[in-house]
Each structure stands twice: as structure tokens, then as C-alpha cells.
């Protein structure tokens, strides 16, 4: 910052015109100051360089590279030099029946996942946040309990649920259903059946992720002034009316943010699908997602160009969602 001279008023004027003050050598009393001030640009640049260089090298460059690769026919381990392909990879993704089938299926699965997870998980998180926004003894314990699955690596969550949803009649869910249906329920292959494969992924993902949204909403709830509730009570507002007219407006911004964040995160779903397809009997076709498709295309089929095109499409979707999120959230934060 600028103020080595407290005698001066109007620090803003000086901030905006640093070269003028710096050029005046007629201040022998403080020889060090103008020099140091001039060098702020150097220090600023030096301090930001490692992180910015890392980001450019490992995010910016590879991203540009993805766009370039998507215009070529690049195969790992192929002796042929990559051939320029133009928009062929994209055309194939959307129209070549062999390739577009799985890809469009993956897009559809992602969409299904998001359309179910975003409202369900947000509503569940809101319900939990409201329940936990009370001054009860041991409330902290309950909060950490609901938050706990968030720290579980997805690779592990997938394995636990693989057992719960196991297809044998000894699987946890199947035997529970067997017990409550008085023996009418037998073995059901939750992960393998195309009708329930995606639903299973949704359930375990919501279980793992809901605590995250809950904490964010809880923080939002705690910013609502208590007087609003007191005033509402004086007006004899019922609990439902308080929820509708005090709670919901009070966390509207947070709620929108949470929903948008969840939709971005939900497009990135990969770990649980990969783990369960590779060893858990998950129905591959019914549960493949765009990221799963990109990884298997690059890695199992060595088709890097095609995978890059998938990656670019994936990125465009996420960016659109993120930009909508910023648009929607910004005005609220500025109130």
C-alpha cells in the first residue's frame, strides 16, 4: 500500500498517481520510500508468478491443447502421425452411430443425474439445515454426523454401497426389504439392472454430498437476523408462514448458489461410476457419464483425439452452468 506519509490527506489521489510522487526526488528525508513503492510491481509479479505459472502450465496450456487435439486424429501408441481432422471428431460424436450412441447416452445419463440430484439433494440439505439450526445440546455432534460422509473418498463410498446394494438375497438392502415385505421380496440386482443402476449412483452420491450443501445452507440460515422471526411471531405467523416469508427469502441467494454448485459438481461425476463398473457389477450403459466416456475413450481405446472432443463438449457445458451461476448469484451478494 501507499501510505508511508501519514501527513498527506487524500490517499486515493496518491494511489491513483504513483509515478508523480515517485518522480519527485525532493524528499531526502525518506529516501527508501519511493524506491520501495516503485518496486511493488516487481514484488507483486514475483509473488504471483509461481502459482500463475503453475495454473497456466497445468490448466491453461492443457486446455488449449484439448481444443487442438480435438481437431486431430490422435491415437496413443500409434505409429502414424496425427492427421488433421477438422471438426470430424465432433461430427462423429454427435452423428456417427457407433460413437454417438454411447456418447449421447452418457450425456443423457449426466442430465438425468443432474435433474434428479440437484432438486433432491438441495431440498434434503435444506431440510437437514433447518433441523440442525437450533440451540439444542449435542447439536454439533449431529451436524458433524451429517457432514461426515463428505470426507469419505468416493472410491470408498462406492465400495460400501456396492455391498449395501449387492444383488444376492444377502445384500443389505435386499434382506431389509425381504424382512419388511414378510418374505415377498427376493434378490434384486440394483446396480446391474438398467432401470436402477443410475438410481443407485444417485442415492450414494446424494448420501455422500448432502452434508456439504447442508453446511453451506446452515451458514446462510444463521445470517438471518433472529428479530425477523420474533417480528413474525408477534404477527402470529405460523411455522409454515415463517418458513415461507422469513426463511426462504433470507437464504434465497444461498439456495440458488447451492443448486447451481450442485449442478456443476453433478456434471463432473466420475469416481463412483468408474469404481463400480470396473468391479462392482454396475450396468455400464445405464450409468456411463461424460467423464467416464472421456476416460475410457482416451485410456481403453487410446483415442485421444476423440476423448479431447468429449472433454471440450464437457467443458462447454460446465462453463455455461458456471456462468449462469455467476449471473444468478452476483446481484444477490451485492444487496
Amino acid at each position: 500500500m501507499t501510505s508511508a506519509e501519514p501527513a498527506h490527506a487524500a490517499p486515493h489521489a496518491r494511489e491513483k498517481a504513483p509515478p508523480v510522487t515517485a518522480e519527485k526526488p525532493a524528499r531526502p528525508a525518506r529516501p527508501a520510500r519511493p524506491v520501495r513503492k516503485n518496486r511493488d510491481w516487481l514484488h507483486g509479479l514475483l509473488m504471483s508468478t509461481p502459482a500463475v505459472a503453475g495454473l497456466v502450465a497445468f490448466v491453461g496450456v492443457p486446455f488449449g491443447y484439448a481444443v487442438v487435439l480435438s481437431f486431430y486424429n490422435v491415437r496413443l501408441g500409434s505409429p502414424l502421425a496425427p492427421a488433421f481432422f477438422g471438426l470430424e471428431q465432433y461430427r462423429r460424436l454427435f452423428t456417427d452411430p457407433d460413437l454417438s450412441g454411447p456418447f449421447l447416452r452418457a450425456l443423457l445419463n449426466n442430465l438425468t443425474f443432474a435433474v434428479v440430484v440437484v432438486p433432491v439433494q438441495t431440498a434434503l440439505a435444506l431440510g437437514l439445515a433447518i433441523l440442525l439450526n437450533r440451540k439444542l445440546k449435542a447439536i454439533g455432534l449431529f451436524r458433524s454426523l451429517f457432514f461426515m460422509p463428505v470426507v469419505f473418498p468416493m472410491a470408498l463410498v462406492a465400495v460400501i454401497w456396492r455391498l449395501i446394494l449387492a444383488r444376492s438375497d444377502q445384500g443389505m438392502l435386499n434382506s431389509a426389504l425381504h424382512a419388511v415385505s414378510f418374505g415377498n421380496w427376493g434378490a434384486f440386482d440394483w446396480l446391474g439392472d438398467s432401470a436402477t443402476a443410475m438410481a443407485s449412483i444417485i442415492v450414494l452420491s446424494v448420501w455422500q454430498g448432502v452434508g456439504f450443501q447442508m453446511v453451506i445452507l446452515l451458514a446462510g440460515l444463521q445470517q438471518i437476523p433472529g428479530e425477523l422471526y420474533e417480528a413474525a411471531e408477534l404477527d402470529r405467523a405460523s411455522r409454515w408462514q415463517q418458513f415461507r416469508h422469513v426463511t426462504l427469502p433470507g437464504i434465497r441467494g444461498t439456495l440458488v448458489f447451492v443448486a447451481m454448485l450442485t449442478s456443476v459438481l453433478s456434471f463432473r461425476v466420475f469416481d463412483q461410476v468408474y469404481v463400480l463398473v470396473k468391479g462392482g457389477g454396475l450396468n455400464e450403459d445405464a450409468a456411463r457419464t461424460v467423464m467416464y466416456q472421456a476416460v475410457t475413450t482416451a485410456f481403453d481405446q487410446n483415442n485421444v483425439g476423440q476423448a479431447s472432443a468429449i472433454t471440450v463438449v464437457f467443458f462447454l457445458i460446465v462453463v455455461v452452468l458456471t456462468l449462469i451461476q455467476r449471473r444468478v448469484v452476483r446481484p444477490d451478494n451485492e444487496d
Binding site: A4, G44, V52, L55, V59, F63, L136, F147, V258, F315
Partner: protein, 284 residues
Amino acid sequence: MSIHTGLTRTPLRRFLDYAVLSVLAFIFALPVIYLFMGSLKPSDEVLNGLSGFLPTHLSFDNYTAVLDSLNSDSTGYFWRFMGISLLLSFVVVTGGLFINSMAAYGLSRLKWRGRNAVFTLVLLLLLVPFESVAVPLFYMFNDQRNTLFIQAIPFIANAFSVYQFHTFFRSIPPSIEEAARLDGAGPWRTFFAIIVPMSKPAFASVAILTFLIQWGSFLWPVLMVSDPSVRPLPLEMSVFQAQLPPDWGQILAFGVLLVLPVLIVFAFFQRWFVQGVASSAVKG
């Protein structure tokens, strides 16, 4: 009756609150209970209907078996996987705290021409999810596969961490730095001696979030690591659970060992954890 304060609650209402919370919490905790219980049971009793929850025949045999069976040569496999995960997390967290906080300071508190452009660049890169650069990175660093280096380096610089630090530093009153500058401290000393010590909450929450993400990191190892000698724990977990025939007791014991470090960190630093998540969102 106030929803908010709970001060005027009747004992009945309070009882109902606890009852609802306990039932929900129990249902919610079932998978975790199952994990811990199963890890202590003989393998044939894990997948055995609802009795999988019953605490019968509990022992630590699965744990010793995991540590032994993955100890097939002198290197000590399990501890090796664990060590690799710990090492990678350590490098990514400490390296990340260092360079990302420094960059955020340079971008938020020092005035220089072009800093807005650089910060805009960081915000643009924040838009790019790792998933969308995974494939080109994999292609670019194909000759670095199965190295420790490539598992850590891409994750040290982190746009989201820069953003979080940036938000925090901007809330520090300028007068504090001005005083330091008056005393003759340059930007580096001001940063390391004044700003860093007073930003502990920001460092703690960024550290915890980074650790959490790095510890569970899966996509990148899937692409880059095939050699067990440099394999991190979550990837080994997915390999271990796909074995045939599956040994459920051991798989769950492995799972407990995988999650234990984060649970310990979580237990000790919960407050920062939750603050970090919440503040990133409310300010985001």
C-alpha cells in the same frame, strides 16, 4: 414458540426434536456403521443379510490380513500406498498454501499494473474443471506415467485456493500493513511476518479442503498410475475391491484404513473444515 432460538421450547418439543434427529442420523450413519462393523467381522459374515450389523465374532484379523497380504515383498505394500498418499497430500497442501497465498497477496494487496489482468486470468482458469484438462494432461505427460512427480505437481497451483486467500486478504484492514511498511518492512516481510500469522483461519480451511480433495483423488491416478509401487491408496482401494473372489472383511478393513486419516484430521479441525466450506460459499 420460536423456531430460531429454541429457548421457549417445551420438554416435549425438545424430545421430539431429538427423536427426529436421532432417527435421521441413524439411517444416515448406517453405511458408516456397516463399514466399521464389517471390517471387524469374518468375511463370510459381512454379506450375510441384516446380521452384517450384529457385533458377532469381532476381531482385528481383517486388519492384520490387509497389512500382511499387501506385504508380499520386502517393501511393505500397504504402508507404501499409505506413505505415497501421505507424501502427495503433504506436498500438494504445503506447496499449495505457500504459492497460492503468496499469489493472492501479490494480487490483492500490492498495486501494480497488470495485476487485474493476471487476476482475471486466474478467475478464468478457475472456470476450468480438472476433468476437462485430464485427457490432454494425460497425453502431454504420457512419458511421466508412474512417477510421483506427475501425481503431485499439477495440483499445487490451485485457482480456487488463490481465490479463497484473495477474498480473505481483502478483508484485512490496510492500516495494519501500513504500520508494517512504516516500520520499514518490505512486501515479503509484511506478508510472512504480519499477514500470514493473522490469516490462520484462511490457511487452515484451505489446507483442509486441499487435503480432503487430494486424499480422495482418483481420476488422475486412474490415468497416470499402473505401477503398484507408486500407487496411492484410493486407486489401490478400487483395485483391491475388484479382486475375485472378493474378501469383504478385508475390503472393508482396507476402507477404514483409507478413511481414518481424514476422519482424524476432520475430528481435530472440524471447525475450520466447516468454516472453510461455508465461507467459500457464502462469499462465493
